[in-house]
């Protein structure tokens, strides 16, 4: 069975302050298996280590210890093996304003990975680019292919970033806060797109976010990270509706809940009256 597995992943960072140096364990013993057609959400606050996990999976950081396996074989770290890995595992970054090159057109952004990964060349390029744009709902494709990043909205740029990740024929996507920089009214559109790709193209998605609500609605399984540790994991509804770990409970209690309007004020009033 094809899958992307991480086993006992650990990442230490050296912190130097003056002459002293110490170690910070950013990720401590994280294991999970991402299967095609499934979405795993990695949730946690800043500094919890979730992005470090993403970077290790996309091989932008080297794990201190632990293994990353693709289809049960340890993944290659350089040369040909690394390129092969990148055919299959791609990343969508948080900031579509920074992750696209302002000098280049959308077509260029998509042609490069198609060429580099040997998916298409020459005359095949244009139809391949258009095909990608259509897969991410940027139609008419000819119009979008000619645009530069500044001519598009944040949501459209993020769609281009997703198309670029799909270009090499990736089977797994690591999406690190893919919608947190976008306006609220277009976030669901981008998430729905990821959900459709995951469903229709059998993509495995690692969705990294601090937003518990979308984590619940868009993933099958949730892993809650706190200071490098996975403190709770399970099917999405179980984790959100019936949290076991104290930290998960704290996180859930802190999330805004529109139906509780006025509640916070009453709580504060009661508190002040009691004090």
């Amino acid at each position: 069975m094809s899958c992307l597995e991480v086993r006992n992943l650990v990442k230490d960072f050296k912190i130097r302050s003056g002459l002293r140096s110490s170690t910070l364990r950013a990720v401590n013993d994280v294991s999970f298996t991402l299967e095609p057609g499934r979405t795993i959400a990695l949730v946690g606050e800043s500094g919890s280590g979730k992005s470090t996990v993403a970077k290790m999976i996309s091989q932008l950081e080297t794990p201190t210890s632990g293994e990353i396996l693709l289809d049960d074989a340890p993944v290659g770290r350089r040369g040909r093996a690394l390129t092969d890995y990148r055919h299959q595992v791609q990343m969508v970054f948080q900031d579509p304003f920074a992750s696209l090159n302002p000098y280049h057109t959308v077509a260029h952004h998509l042609e490069r990975p198609l060429q580099l990964h040997g998916v298409a060349s020459g005359a095949e390029l244009e139809p391949a680019v258009h095909g990608l744009l259509e897969r991410v709902n940027l139609t008419p494709a000819e119009t979008y292919a000619a645009k530069r990043p500044h001519e598009m909205s944040g949501g459209q740029r993020q769609r281009v970033a997703i198309a670029r990740a799909l270009a090499p024929g990736a089977r797994f996507l690591v999406a690190d806060e893919p919608v947190s920089m976008l306006d609220v009214s277009i976030r669901l559109g981008v998430l729905n797109l990821l959900a459709r790709l995951q469903r229709e193209e059998n993509l495995g998605v690692l969705y990294i976010t601090h937003d518990l609500a979308t984590a619940r609605h868009f993933s099958d399984e949730i892993l809650v990270m706190y200071r490098g540790d996975v403190v709770e994991r399970g099917p999405s509804d179980d984790v959100i509706l019936d949290p076991q770990h104290d930290y998960t409970k704290t996180l859930l209690a802190a999330a805004p809940e529109p139906s509780r309007h006025g509640r916070l004020r009453e709580e504060v009033r009661a508190e002040l009256a009691g004090a």
């Binding site: 606050e45 800043s46 991410v136 709902n137 940027l138 139609t139 909205s153 949501g155 459209q156 769609r159 306006d183 609220v184 009214s185 277009i186 976030r187 669901l188 559109g189 729905n192 797109l193 959900a195 459709r196 469903r199 601090h210 518990l212 609500a213 979308t214 619940r216 609605h217 868009f218 959100i240 509706l241 704290t250 996180l251 859930l252 209690a253 802190a254 999330a255 805004p256 809940e257 529109p258 139906s259 509780r260 309007h261 006025g262 509640r263 916070l264 004020r265 504060v268 009033r269 508190e271 002040l272």
Partner: protein
């Protein structure tokens, strides 16, 4: 404020709610333009009344003009932004009405921060990195309360930090030595320093983690109970506004499209855009909404 053909939508409940309240800040037909080429009308004929002691949420997405409007209310606009037309009146607790638009020079300086203070977007970058917290809080007091001696200033600064839940020992810290949440608390202390009647908060918690965010919100609510200032709370986070505000104004493209009590916005939103915004936030614990993984309708490439 009733719903007219051109004005924002609102309900009878909203009128009933505002009926007995005393206004503290009134804006009438405010238009703000960015004098660029071509000119951008960032705020179009907005009228808004803020009542004494209330929390008014100003919701909208980036570029809708919510920050520009807030800056206009406090006369903080910088060129190329210019307040083209409209009136802003501050109804002082002493009974005097102040024409904010007409203020100049010293009168303007005395008004700002003293009557209306502001907590800026991105507290992370709003504190001066090269001077201590003591000096920054002291700065506000030296400018606005020149009669205060140094001892008095220090005592007041320490008191302010205590009010916002920061250890007064932090007076000698610099911004980089504080966590994000603490920096935001210091910003709030600064906004509190002169006992303002209105506090404008522009995305005060957006950059913070949810748990820290919750702590800050609590602090704001607590302080508001004690000092009874009115708050204009600007954010794109509608669920958060629904939880803390008395009333919510929804802005789009420079106009307020709907203004109503939080309760009405939550259960009976009238404007399609308000409904769209509400639908953009899946409920954490509610049923799995129809938008989930069905997609087609909301997946459009906007």
């Amino acid at each position: 404020m009733t719903a007219t053909a051109t004005g924002p939508l609102s309900s009878a409940a909203h009128d009933a709610y505002t009926a007995g309240l005393a206004p503290v800040l009134t804006a009438r037909d405010v238009s703000i333009e960015y004098e660029v080429d071509p000119p951008v009308q960032a705020v179009k004929d907005v009228s808004l009344t803020l009542h004494r002691g209330e929390i008014l949420g100003l919701a909208g997405e980036s570029g809708c003009g919510k920050t520009t409007l807030a800056y206009g209310l406090d006369r903080l606009l910088k060129p190329p932004a210019i307040l083209r037309s409209g009136e802003v009146t501050f109804h002082d607790a002493s009974g005097v009405d102040i024409d904010v638009v007409g203020l100049r020079g010293d009168a303007l300086r005395a008004f700002r921060w003293d009557k209306v203070s502001m907590v800026f977007q991105g507290a992370m970058n709003s504190l001066n990195p090269v001077i201590s917290v003591r000096k920054q809080l002291g700065d506000v007091l030296t400018t606005h309360r020149p009669q205060m001696g140094r001892k008095e200033r220090d005592a007041r600064s320490a008191e302010l930090l205590e009010l916002v839940g920061v250890d007064p020992a932090r007076l000698d810290s610099f911004a980089h030595e504080l966590s994000g949440g603490m920096r935001q608390r210091v910003m709030i202390a600064m906004a509190l320093a002169l006992g303002p009647q209105v506090m404008i908060m522009d995305e005060p918690t957006t950059a913070l983690d949810v748990v820290v965010q919750r702590g800050i919100l609590r602090e704001i609510m607590r302080l508001r109970e004690r000092f009874d200032f009115a708050v204009v709370f600007i954010t794109h986070d509608l669920p958060l506004l629904l939880e803390i505000s008395d009333r919510i104004a929804v802005m789009r493209e420079g106009e307020i499209v709907e203004i109503d009590t939080a309760e009405s916005i939550y259960s009976r939103a009238q404007h399609p855009y308000t409904r769209q915004l509400l639908a953009s936030f899946p409920s954490l614990t509610g049923d799995r909404g129809s938008f989930v993984r069905t997609g087609a309708e909301q997946e459009g490439a906007s």
